[in-house]
């Protein structure tokens, strides 16, 4: 998947914390298509990385560095972060 859709018509996905462990990688690219929403991006990475399954109920997504909801639209070139429960401090 990392090699699919590279270029401007892709969405860059970053995995952190337990999501990084579950996927075994720091990020991936998902091909962008018109009308795409954040939930579609999550669906695409969850299909590619089944380890994300158990985390799905605990994950939040960020779009370009801001928390966003699954219904929010995604543009080509956006950076989407998969954010499991945080534990800083």
């Amino acid at each position: 998947m990392a090699d699919v859709g590279r270029g401007p018509l892709a969405v860059r996905v970053l995995f952190f914390g337990a999501a990084k462990d579950a996927c075994g990688r720091e990020g991936a690219e998902v091909p962008w298509c018109a009308g795409m929403r954040l939930g579609d991006v999550l669906g695409a990475v969850a299909a590619a990385y089944s380890g994300l399954g158990p985390l799905r109920g605990h994950i939040r997504l960020a779009r370009n560095g801001e928390f966003a909801s699954l219904d929010d639209p995604v543009s080509a070139g956006d950076e989407v972060a998969v954010i499991p429960p945080v534990s800083g401090g």
């Binding site: 970053l14 952190f16 914390g17 337990a18 960020a62 560095g65 801001e66 928390f67 972060a81 954010i83 499991p84 945080v86 534990s87 800083g88 401090g89």
Partner: protein, 125 residues
Amino acid sequence: MEIEVAITEGPIGAACACARGAGARVEFTGVVRGEEGGSAISALRYEAYRPMAENQMRKILEGLGREHPILRARVIHRIGEVPVGDAAIHVLVESGHRAEAFAVAAAFMDRLKRDVPIWKRGGVP
């Protein structure tokens, strides 16, 4: 519990270098403890989604600053390997009076632990 109290006629530490008008400074330091999940560790690893984490910390402080009249807030979070006994985070809040500084420092930590993309990533044995 160890208690020390003293009344002194000399200076207490260095002068504060506080914001103008500050009468209260509250500092919080989060320190790495010698165990994690029941095992002894020598250090704890932290990871951040760095630009978003800095942005979130700033937004949280801006929001708290709208609710409470504070003069200054400064937060430093360390990432990578943080040895036991070292600070993982330091929060400093200054305000005219103490209630706001306490409220903002404590509320900031609550928010950080919910909404700032920084993760403990396991101990170093």
